[in-house]
């Protein structure tokens, strides 16, 4: 197995073998990211393909300050966000809600099957799905999300709250979670 540095060098020289190695190295992880953002597998594969096109095109701009994986992941997330950004802007919710508008229940998350969880996340409306992923999984702040998606911070908070509520409701309806106690908040 060649070192990452050699693979990157090969990619910079447009060598197909190196490009394939880089793709193979990160495809599964990045496809996992794509599946969380996309509405279906076809969309996820499109995002992965577009994202890697950008990776190969912009690899010369990669500074070795952070990890290559982190850099590629950021590109994949950006590609996914770009794909749905127009829709998100067009589907801003009318009423703003805060996290606390929706009851939080203590949930036993340990037994949730990951594949089922992904399926449920994918079934969320696009504006909730994207904000949920960016906030809950990637760790962006609402301010950062509002800048990236060109929506207000309140909309971001509201979408996230709704996403979380819907997610838990769906998990409950599918009998994938059990409640261990009453609501923690409210």
């Amino acid at each position: 197995m060649e070192s990452i540095d050699n693979i990157v060098k090969g990619c910079l020289n447009n060598r197909r073998k190196a490009q394939k190695q880089l793709y193979d190295l990160f495809a599964a992880k990045m496809y996992g990211v794509c599946l969380r953002y996309a509405r279906n597998r076809e969309d996820a594969e499109d995002i992965l393909q577009e994202g890697f096109m950008i990776v190969f095109d912009k690899l010369h701009t990669f500074k070795k300050k952070g990890s290559l994986e982190g850099w590629i992941k950021r590109i994949i997330i950006n590609t996914a966000v770009q794909k749905y950004r127009e829709k998100i802007s067009n589907l801003v919710v009318g009423n703003m809600h805060n996290d606390s508008d929706y009851p939080e229940r203590a949930v036993d998350y340990d037994h949730i099957q990951l594949n089922e969880l992904i399926e449920i996340i994918r079934s969320l409306p696009v504006q909730y799905r994207i904000v949920f992923n960016m906030y809950a999984v990637e760790g962006y702040s609402h301010k950062e999300i509002s800048n990236i998606l060109k929506i207000s911070e309140n909309t971001s908070r509201s979408n996230y709250a709704r996403a979380r509520y819907m997610l838990i409701e769906k998990l409950k309806n599918e009998n994938l979670v059990s409640y261990t106690s009453k609501a923690l908040v409210k």
């Binding site: 499109d46 127009e86 992904i118």
Partner: protein, 468 residues
């Protein structure tokens, strides 16, 4: 404060569980992704090469145009009325007549009296520093010389030699070893010169050249676009557009006005209708007849809730009974819930042709490469375009229906153009011409988007011009 803590606590619980699980999720994509990625990478290489070719062509065209403009300015700045005085000295003053180099074989009487022999070195000086006043003068002088030499000249090669060396103020005959005059072979080069005056009869006999001409022209055109978007800012991948968008065959037509500035250079303007565009492939189109559209009952004022993203703007539809579905990517945006139509599929993978018609005012410079019976010219210039027609046409077998328009298209644009022109005289006044040409928009056709799209057309003009 308590509220913040509660939120933090909520976030911790939720993220530590769900978030952590999701962060580590992996799955293997299908082999299709790499195959298409590989195809896209090949395509990018080709596009990159095309980009360099485009830049090189644009630079050559700009240089040619700049050179043409320079030539025109130099010509305009030259005091033509004084050329004869400044550059056409009388032979006795500036051209030393050699008495000793007259060839022995040729006798004095075989060369008309009006010609005097000069040395080769002198003629070289004269040759290259005396500018021809105008093409017509050159021809008149040559015609005069030929006429004067008729008694002594039979060889056709000699005629072409005269054409080459008849310069302003002088008609010059430069012979070579191969030339025979009146059956007498010249054994060494000899050069004869005489001055031509404005009073020579040929200046009156030959009519003035027509400087103006008007014409009509029409051209079939291959129309497409260059998409130079940066991939990271694309809403959809560049590769998807490249795979699903094709060229169109359209047409251009117009009228032109030309002004002959000098022997070599003419200027052209006029008014043209040029039709740019592209063909969108792999969109399924369903027809849902009746009052209810696939989107439910739409009030008359409500726009069609679907649109199609293309590299050349966004297509909006006018007929609510049509439903669109992308069969290769996800270019169809739908803002409403769709009742999946179970009725007529018009045709799988229909063509949606984006037609964008512009009125163009061109400013073109033409340079004469060859000026014989047939004229060959190089042309290059700029054009200013105004959008006058915007339609999306559904092209099916035997049908062409206008079903929408493209949004985000600039009304004004500019372009560069270049080509070759072949002009054939039909009568004294009427010319037929054929012009293979190319034009390229130099400002992006769309606005408000991340795409930079530059339409281009390759066309073959044919037309008629009337000189006056």
């Amino acid at each position: 404060m308590n509220n913040d803590k509660q939120k933090m606590r909520k976030k911790d619980i939720f993220e530590n569980n769900i978030g952590e699980k999701l962060r580590n999720f992996q799955s293997q994509p299908s082999s299709r992704v790499w195959k298409e990625l590989e195809a896209g990478l090949d395509n990018t290489r080709k596009l990159s090469r095309q980009r360099y070719i485009k830049y090189a062509a644009a630079i050559i065209l700009l240089l040619a145009t700049a050179w043409g403009i320079y030539e025109a300015l130099v010509y305009i700045g030259t005091p033509h009325d004084q050329v004869a005085d400044v550059f056409s000295p009388k032979p006795s003053e500036n051209v030393e007549i050699s008495e000793k180099t007259k060839p022995d074989i040729i006798s004095e009487k075989e060369v008309p009296d009006i010609y005097q022999e000069i040395t080769v070195s002198e003629i070289e000086d004269t040759d290259f520093f005396l500018p021809v006043k105008q093409e017509k003068d050159k021809k008149k002088i040559a015609a005069h010389v030929i006429d004067s030499l008729k008694p002594v000249m039979h060889e056709e090669e000699f005629v072409s030699d005269i054409f080459e060396t008849s310069l302003a103020g002088y008609s010059i005959i430069k012979t070579t070893d191969d030339i025979t005059i009146s059956g007498v072979e010249l054994k060494q080069p000899a050069v004869y010169a005489r001055s031509i005056s404005e009073q020579d009869p040929y200046f009156d006999d030959i009519p003035e050249r027509n400087r103006w001409s008007v014409g009509i022209k029409i051209a079939p055109q291959y129309a497409f676009r260059i998409n130079s978007s940066e991939p990271e800012v694309l809403y959809r991948g560049k590769a998807i557009f490249e795979q699903n968008e094709k060229h169109l065959y359209t047409y251009n037509l117009g009228i032109d006005v030309k002004y002959q500035l000098s022997n070599k250079i003419s200027l052209e303007s006029g008014l043209q209708y040029i039709r740019m565009g592209q063909s969108i492939r792999n969109i399924n189109i369903y027809h849902h007849p009746g009052n209810e559209s696939p989107f439910g009952i739409l009030p008359a004022h409500v726009n069609h809730p679907q649109s199609v993203l293309t590299s050349m703007g966004e297509i909006h539809f006018t007929d609510p009974t049509l439903y669109f579905d992308d069969i290769s990517a996800h270019r169809v945006l739908t803002l409403e819930e769709v009742n999946e139509p179970d009725d007529v599929l018009l045709e799988r993978g229909d063509r949606l042709n984006q037609h964008l018609g512009f009125l163009e005012v061109p400013l073109t410079i033409r340079y004469n490469l060859y000026d014989g019976l047939v004229k060959i010219q190089l042309k290059g210039g700029v054009g200013f375009n105004y959008l006058v027609n915007n339609s999306v046409v559904l092209q099916r077998e035997g049908f062409r229906n206008s079903i929408g328009t493209t949004s985000l298209i600039r009304n004004w644009n500019s372009s560069i153009t270049g080509g070759v022109a072949l002009q054939v005289p039909v009568t004294d006044k009427l010319n037929f011409y054929i012009e293979p040409s190319a034009n390229l928009f130099i400002s992006s056709m769309t606005y408000g988007r991340e795409y930079n799209v530059y339409p281009y057309g390759i066309s073959l003009y044919t037309g008629l011009g009337y000189a006056f």
